[in-house]
């Protein structure tokens, strides 16, 4: 825990305020019956898949290729998440299944 309780509270407060602002902004800007600019609507539609792809790469930034254990567990567990989701279409099964598999791989096999 690198943060003091006060610093952690400040971080959580920032997360809460920013999260609320992302939800409130459309209401603050466009709730008077104005139409949002077309570019805003367009970016609102095409940005989410790009951002999620960005975050996946960000999550995997620690992957290394010097040892098998550096890249094989995230590859196997990541594939498991995608395949489970294509097969069952259930968030719960996909996320829990892949996470448990990953934990088994990093704790038991590629130690």
């Amino acid at each position: 825990m690198p943060l003091s309780p006060i610093q952690a509270l400040a971080s959580i407060a920032v997360m809460a305020v920013v999260t609320f602002l992302t939800r409130a902004l459309p209401f603050l800007l466009f709730d008077r019956g104005d139409h949002p600019p077309k570019l805003v609507l367009y970016l609102g539609r095409v940005l989410p898949p790009a951002i999620i792809a960005m975050l996946i790469v960000y999550c995997l930034k620690g992957v290394t290729f010097t040892t098998l254990g550096g890249w094989l567990p995230p590859l196997i567990a990541g594939l498991a998440a995608v395949l489970l989701h294509l097969w069952k279409g259930n968030d719960l099964i996909s996320i829990f299944g892949a996470t448990v598999l990953y934990m088994v791989l990093v704790q038991g096999i590629f130690v």
Partner: protein, 237 residues
């Protein structure tokens, strides 16, 4: 809220109950694994209430990230909420003081339920929306506190539990991939971030990546403007 509204809203929220208990528990476990117990899980789920945002929050707390970095990362991961608000402008109109809570609690799941579910005959629509939102929030809080308590009680090795965040984003990506009219935004996002990781390094990768994404998508607008999503599908918080 009265009994009739609750009876109408509860069945609608059951899929979210299952999902939030599971994803919330994974969050509680992750948070517990970096040394923050159940009261921290309760606080975060109460005041932030965002699935992927809180998953990211765990890694920000673990890294002791400076506040501007926390603000920027939270903004990035929650950027999609801007779109949700745009389609709820009409629905929330006239909800008075409850509108503040409706906007606060507009997660992916609540958005998905509110955009499809209808209040049955004899139930006030705004009461129904408000009850759905509150039920979902309570499931999220319950799941995350349960996860933190479980992690503390069982005391097992939680190494690797942070992969839940990667899995969550992959699951969201699968849903978006199926619903998207064009795969260019997703491919562009991945490629731009990979390039940024290689050029700028792991610490400073996000801002250049985001700049490339926004500029490229703006330039590609003539090409992508006509591609519409097939169906709304929002599988995760």
């Amino acid at each position: 809220m009265n009994r009739k509204t609750l009876a109408a809203a509860f069945p609608v929220t059951v899929p979210v109950l299952m999902g939030y208990l599971a994803i919330g528990m994974a969050f509680g476990l992750m948070l517990q694994s970096i040394g923050y117990g159940a009261h921290w899980a309760l606080l975060m789920s109460l005041v932030i209430y965002a699935g992927s945002g809180q998953y990211l929050g765990v890694s920000l707390l673990a890294a002791g990230a400076p506040l501007p970095h926390v603000a920027f990362m939270t903004l990035m991961v929650n950027f999609r909420h801007l779109v949700y608000g745009l389609s709820m402008l009409e629905k929330f109109r006239g909800m008075g003081s409850r509108k503040f809570y409706m906007i606060f609690s507009l997660t992916d799941e609540t958005y998905a339920l509110l955009s499809s579910a209808q209040a049955p005959e004899g139930v006030d629509e705004h009461d129904f929306f408000f009850t759905v939102a509150m039920l979902n929030h309570s499931y999220w809080i319950a799941g995350s506190v349960a996860g933190a308590l479980l992690g503390a009680a069982l005391g097992f090795d939680t190494t690797g539990v942070d992969f839940a965040m990667t899995a969550l984003f992959l699951v969201i990506a699968v849903g978006q991939w199926r619903a998207a009219g064009s795969h260019i935004p997703a491919l562009l996002g991945g490629a731009a971030t990979l390039a940024s990781l290689l050029l700028a390094g792991a610490e400073d990768m996000l801002l250049p990546a985001l700049a490339i994404i926004v500029i490229a998508l703006t330039l590609l607008r003539p090409r992508l403007e006509g591609t519409h999503e097939r169906e709304e599908e929002t599988p995760c918080p």
